[in-house]
Amino acid sequence: MKNYDLVIVGGGPAGLAAAVSARDNGIESILILERDKELGGILNQCIHNGFGLHTFKEELTGPEYAARFIDQAAERNISYKLNTMVMDIAVMDSGEKKVTAMNREDGMFELCAKAVILAMGCRERSRGALNIPGYRPAGIYSAGTAQRLVNMEGYMPGREVVILGSGDIGLIMARRMTLEGATVKVVAELMPYSGGLKRNIVQCLDDFNIPLKLSHTVIDIEGKDRVEAVTIAEVGADRKPVPGTEERYTCDTLLLSCGLIPENELSKNAGVSISPVTSGPVVNDSLETDVPGIFACGNVLHVHDLVDYVSQEAAVAGKNAALYIQNGSSGDARTVEIVPEGGVRYTVPKFIRPERIDDTVTVRFRVGDVYKNCAVCVYLDDELLQKKKRPVMAPGEMEQIILTKEKLGAHPDLGRIIIRIEEA
């Protein structure tokens, strides 16, 4: 069994940034395992621009953004294996991790790692998981699958398109399909608000006169061989279709952009606890899971809307994995729980160790509804620590607050940190 200090599962933006950060923090022995034929992950199919505004202060396409990190990894001579699937992660009696992986050249092999960073990303919610009734013909694609077919393989999945769900990939694909010659008839969204970024609604739908129907869903799919039509209907407050509001759209394609699900099958097998809200691991401020030495970052941890934040988060995971490897453990420390309340659905991290954090720690979260003229309030037990006014907050956009070591340090008996949305 070959030994590494750090094995990173996934060579997308999270895995790459984590590797770079771990190397910069002194770890020599790093291996990235990537299941696809190249590094960069899903960014390789995101050929539109808009990436990197925070990180590089310029607008890059997905492959360009990925290339920056691939270059950084190459400059540091970080090892990686492509076309390699990780089959299992197990914790050995020594506390080290046994990573079982497979590829064509090496066959099935086992590695021993002092620490593991999970960076496997997420998958799209399928038609089956949405339980949309109707036939099961060809022409029903998740938006990401269609994106791969169009942007990487050069094939058009259909001519006349209806899109269910206004997640960012769906919005981006509405524009892409239009630019490539298809007609996008409508985007239907179950919720009364979009699941994607505002800028994508403007640039991908409004600019192309593609209607967005909020509070609508697909209630029937016709066509035995290929999609022939879909019926959409308005939904009430209970999200059930309202009779009499049905509209039938003839089309040959239905694209689904109805949410992303972190892919944590490996994490679960390794014994990592998963949050029922994010479907990602429960982590502390080091982005360490409840299995010591296993860290997580990127979309496997919680679904992001901007890759810049993925890179930042991954750098934190890489740095802390380096510390873990150097110190042989994460050590014991006082742990305080962050409790999401009043509209805040979850926080990453879930636990903070005030004595162990750097000067600041970034806490990311999403809200469960659209809030206007509101404020994000942070309480240390009952004491209001900060109140940040926000004109509008929506579930489609990830939020963040920054806690300082100084403020937390002033509360040695702190029981819990509460984050809550309140009226401004």
Partner: protein, 483 residues
């Protein structure tokens, strides 16, 4: 001139073809779909019934019990994934215990072995998630779960290996009596060309369309209604929620639905039962899907319905007489029906194959085929190998080291095997049914473009000709900017 033309390449037609290939004869199988196992055989409960349900003396009872008993040997010979998990019919407090006892009595008359009634305490040790209302259950240890795709393909592949010709994408338009048998006019659904087959004997195994074929040659009309059954399939995370097939005791409220583990480790809930006019109406409905979780909760509690990964509907071929219709049509010599094969059709298929093959062999006076090869090897599952064996395999065939379907961990090697074996896969669904690639929790989101590349390379075929499940279900329609 064929000795026997079997119409329908579902589990019934395929089982008959395999049994008939034990005889020295020219045999063909004709089906309108692009693959075997495309109708009722692919969308059902995937279980082998013990056989207590059918009326004593009926063909259903006789053939179910016989088919069940044949499964162990068949599973070995033909490499069919099959496990005797045992089944339970649960009786709730508001139901009549006497009905459960009557069911047991019926089962005993049918010859079902080892039936007994379990009280709640014992039941709970077997099935901790049984509903709180359940007071007792009929336990049938011979009940089992099976892969219906592999069962059908095993029969068909083995028949093919033994010389049976398969004509897929071939729709029967008309059948007429000729001097020495029958004339079958067909249209190839892919090319649109017509072709006429001649056969001394016809076996009608056409599922929901068996009445149409019978009624072309016989005055003894059959009437088959398509009875739709909708199902929900749950993630493997929910696969151990129950460990037996759990039926509900039929009552005034209906037959109920079953909850069962599948042979692949998922959890399956269904079916509904609604008669439909359209014999191709395999669509699911909101009402049907909504009802499943509700009805299932009568027997099993806390089913994690949020873990549904797909839903589907199948059509049972319900003949109005209520029993299987098997045998020569009285006024059409050599026209042998295997019609009305609804539940327990999958369980009975081995015995139907035996019975129909015997009828045809007697009619034609066939002699045994001395070269019959009884064995068929399924697609190699690398996960069943030790790491050393697996690495030897990968060293020789590197494609077994390349995972294509990440949810089900299916390798390129398995997909290539599915394409190159007898009656190999030519579509995405064909690959899926043979290997499970695309059948997992992401429902082919990640692997479909990669499987398409493998089909393009291995068949070989044009990307534009690759379909989901046959003629008209093409997956891509053009190149970028070409539309």
């Amino acid at each position: 001139m064929y000795d026997v033309a079997i119409i329908g390449a579902g589990v019934t037609g395929s089982a008959i073809a395999r049994e008939l290939s034990k005889y020295h004869a020219r045999i063909c199988v004709i089906d309108r779909e692009e693959d075997v196992c495309c109708g009722t055989s692919k969308a059902n409960s995937a279980i082998i019934h013990a056989g207590f349900d059918a009326e004593p003396g009926s063909l259903k009872a006789k053939l179910n019990v016989r088919g069940n008993a044949m499964m162990d040997a068949l599973a070995g010979e033909l490499d069919i994934p099959f496990t005797r998990t045992g089944s339970l019919v649960v009786c709730t407090a508001s139901q009549n215990r006497a009905d459960l006892e009557a069911l047991m009595e019926k089962g005993r008359k049918n010859g079902v072995p080892d039936l007994r009634i379990l009280e709640r305490d014992e039941l709970l040790t077997l099935e901790p998630n049984i509903s709180d209302d359940v007071v007792c259950a009929l336990f049938a240890p011979t009940g089992g779960i099976v892969c219906p795709f592999h069962m059908t393909m095993a029969f068909a592949e083995n028949a093919c290996t033994n010389g049976v010709s398969f004509f897929l994408n071939t729709k029967v338009d008309h059948i007429e009596k000729s001097e020495d048998g029958y004339r079958i006019d067909t249209t190839h659904t892919d090319s649109g060309k017509t072709e006429t087959f001649a056969a001394k004997v016809i076996v009608n195994a056409a599922g929901v369309y068996a009445d149409v074929l019978n009624n072309m040659v016989s005055a003894h009309k059959l009437h088959i209604t398509a009875r739709k059954g909708e199902y929900c399939l749950l993630d493997k995370d929910a696969g151990t929620h129950v460990s037996h097939t759990i039926f509900q005791l039929p009552s005034k409220m209906g037959k109920g639905v079953l909850v069962t583990p599948t042979i692949h480790g998922n959890l399956l809930i269904g079916p509904t039962a609604v008669d439909v006019e359209n014999k191709d109406a395999v669509n699911t409905t909101q009402a049907g899907l909504d009802s499943l979780g509700r009805t299932a909760s009568l027997s099993v509690k806390n089913i994690p319905m949020r873990q549904v990964i797909t839903s589907f509907a199948g059509l049972r071929a319900h003949e109005e007489g209520g029993d299987f219709v098997i045998g020569e049509a009285a006024d059409a010599p050599g026209f042998i029906n295997a019609a009305g094969i609804e539940s327990p059709g999958l369980s009975s298929a081995p015995a139907i194959g035996e019975m129909v093959a015997q009828l045809a062999a007697e009619f034609l006076g066939l002699s045994a085929n001395p070269d019959f090869i009884p064995h068929r090897k399924g697609i190699l599952r690398p996960e069943t190998l030790s790491m050393e064996e697996r690495n030897r395999l990968i060293a020789e065939h590197p494609e077994y080291g390349n995972i294509i379907c990440r949810c089900e961990m299916i390798t390129e090697g398995e997909i290539m095997d599915a394409i190159h074996r007898p009656l190999g896969a030519r579509s995405l669904d064909g690959v899926k049914r043979r290997t499970r690639a695309g059948m997992g929790r992401c429902q082919s989101g990640f692997c479909s473009p990669r499987t398409m590349e493998i089909l393009e390379r291995e068949v070989p075929m044009q990307m534009f000709d690759i379909t989901k499940n046959g003629v008209g279900s093409n997956l891509v329609v053009g190149l970028n900017k070409e539309l």
